[in-house]
């Protein structure tokens, strides 16, 4: 499980995250929603140790991941970034093998086990047949899947995803989130996924947290967070929430 405790981050004198606490259980997908600038990306970056935090801890089984050196931390927590500007010359296979970094010896040698794990990670996200292609030749959706495979190759109990579907078309968005949810449930991963599409969040998340101005405004079941009051206030836009016509989830519609 992932436990974020009282995390605070400032850029200079500007507070970006204030006392953020969240819990994601193993086998659960928590969607982090919120308007642009709410601090979703910063939360992912701070929790993964690339942004210095003022206060707070990120724990799994009691250890504070932020106090560990990067190599140790990467055995507990993997991040799927947005697939923008990947170095195009690397092959898919080379890219996915990088997920094994925390387990390599100091010579950087890849063992047969590392290759086996990387291969199965590619298979899990359905891109094994792309292994020898160059990353630059892939579509945005394929690239995003390769990055997911790389994170899976890291064999971590925790997975953070930073708006992974932003640049994908609808078909790829659905397929990608479908895969993430299946993996979380099947492999018992604790998944925190920043999303800006509220209805995708409603559809694929077990729970939702609403981040506004660096603070958690609400967290809970989709129905508890996606209320007209909370969403209208957070996005400064009157919305109506209706029952999805053929699924058991709420559907957020702007009033205009």
């Amino acid at each position: 499980m992932l436990k974020i405790e009282n995390l605070s981050v400032s850029y200079g004198s500007r507070s970006v995250l204030a006392n953020v606490s969240l819990e994601v259980n193993s086998g659960e997908v928590l969607a982090l929603i919120g308007p642009n600038g709410a601090g979703k990306s910063t939360l992912v970056r701070a929790a993964s140790g690339v942004v210095p935090v003022e206060a707070g801890a990120v724990r799994t089984n009691g250890d504070d991941l932020l106090s560990l050196p990067p190599l140790q931390r990467a055995r507990f927590l993997a991040v799927v970034p947005q697939a923008a500007s990947l170095p195009p010359a690397f092959s898919v296979w080379e890219t996915v093998l990088l997920g094994r970094t925390p387990y390599l010896n100091f010579l950087g040698q890849v063992s047969a086990k590392d290759e086996e794990i990387s291969r199965s990670a590619l298979a899990k996200v359905d891109v094994l047949e792309l292994a020898s292609r160059r990353v630059g030749e892939l579509s945005g959706g394929e690239q995003q899947r390769v990055l997911l495979a790389r994170a899976l190759a890291q064999s971590t109990p925790i997975l953070l995803l930073d708006e992974p579907t932003t640049n994908l078309d609808l078909h790829y968005q659905i397929g990608f989130l479908e895969t993430v949810r299946t993996l979380a449930h099947a492999d018992g991963l604790a998944v925190l996924i920043a999303l800006h599409d509220l209805n995708l969040a409603a559809h694929y998340a077990d729970r939702i947290a609403l981040l506004v101005g660096g603070k958690i405004k609400a967290a809970g079941m989709p129905r508890q967070v996606l209320t007209p009051e909370l969403i209208s206030e957070a996005y400064h836009l009157p919305v109506r929430v209706v029952q999805h016509p053929f699924a058991d989830v709420p559907l957020v519609l702007p009033e205009k």
């Binding site: 690339v50 500007s85 170095p87 690397f90 092959s91 080379e94 970094t101 390599l104 010579l107 790389r150």
Partner: protein, 336 residues
């Protein structure tokens, strides 16, 4: 398997041929039979000075050029990876201008004709190069991080400053100007094994560290955030690689002067032909860089013999069109 080994076979074959040419070709023609006799310790039959020419001139020079080419090309590949910038070359953060300034400062003193007097210029060039990198690094540092753009800007600015001071000193100098120009064009190369032995320790350390960090350079290509999320201590690794590449470049520059283009072109050609994986790109760049500079040096010595061209002119004149040709017919567009 063969796909992994073939690039090494090709580049090693190229290096072996270049080294052979470098030992076999010179302004004095030594027949292959004599070359063989001398190398196997028998007296030569036709050219009486063959042993001196081969053992005291050609072999040490071949080894020095080989090491210099490997150092420039290897650190060029590393710099391009460190800065994620295809235009980066081994001199990006001031090694060349620092070495030049050090050399000129040493030349402004009249050293006695002794071992130390002769070592003063390469030693000062070496120290000047490392000092420059150190200053640039300190200037670019922001707290615990060293942003690449800061590093490049500080490097370019400080290089201009050092180059200007060098030019000023050269204009002010009276007698040693000729020596300064000779250094700029071709370093302070001396015959014999002294230069090779002096730079070998630094090259071994610098290039050794680079070779061990191919995986880290791969990670850095994905940006600092991803590299760190995948488990790399980014700041520490970058500093280590920067020191290693600068050390190798500084050692190479101290005796050979600043030779352009090898450090830029060879890694790019290797990347185009054999892919971007630094675990392979670094050793291949070392081998191919050594071979390329050897070939350029053979040309520099033989095209206008007995005149000898500065090797940097050959690398640029022959290297640039070749590189453009390779670039034009490259099928994989996004090779970088």
């Amino acid at each position: 398997m063969s796909r992994r080994i073939l690039p090494y076979l090709w580049t090693l074959l190229f290096l072996a041929l270049a080294a052979l040419l470098s030992v076999a070709i010179g302004s004095v023609f030594i027949p292959l039979a004599d070359l063989w006799r001398v190398l196997t310790g028998q007296p030569p039959q036709t050219v009486s000075a063959a042993a001196t020419i081969i053992f005291e001139l050609r072999l040490p020079r071949t080894v020095l050029v080989l090491l210099t080419g490997a150092a420039l090309s290897g650190s060029g590949a590393a710099y391009q990876g460190l800065f994620r910038n295809p235009l980066a070359d081994p001199y990006l953060i001031g090694v060349a201008s620092g070495a030049g300034l050090g050399a000129i400062l040493a030349m402004s003193v009249h050293w006695p004709y002794s071992f130390w007097g002769l070592m003063a210029v390469p030693a000062a060039a070496f120290v000047g190069a490392l000092l420059t990198v150190f200053i640039v690094y300190s200037l670019a540092r922001l707290g615990k991080t060293v942003p690449t753009t800061n590093l490049i800007l500080a490097g370019v600015a400080f290089s201009s400053f050092a180059t200007a001071v060098t030019s000023f000193l050269m204009l002010r100098s009276t007698g040693e100007l000729r020596r300064a120009i000779a250094w700029m064009l071709g370093g302070a190369s001396q015959a014999g094994w002294g230069p090779v032995l002096s730079i070998l320790p630094y090259l071994a350390i610098g290039l050794g560290i680079l070779l061990l960090n191919g995986h880290a350079l791969n990670l850095l290509q994905f940006g600092d955030d991803q590299a760190q999320q995948l488990g790399l201590h980014v700041t520490r690794t970058r500093t280590l690689l920067l020191v290693a590449a600068s050390l190798a470049t500084a050692a190479a520059v101290s005796f050979s002067g600043t030779i352009g283009f090898v450090g830029l072109i060879v890694p790019h050609i290797m990347r185009l032909w054999f892919g971007a994986d630094y675990r392979r790109l670094l050793p291949l760049s070392l081998i191919a860089g050594a071979g390329t500079l050897l070939l350029a040096d053979v040309l520099a010595r033989s095209v206008l013999a007995p005149q000898e061209l500065p090797v940097g002119i050959v690398t640029a004149i022959a290297g640039a069109p070749f590189f453009l040709w390779v670039l034009r017919r490259a099928k994989n567009q996004g090779y970088w």
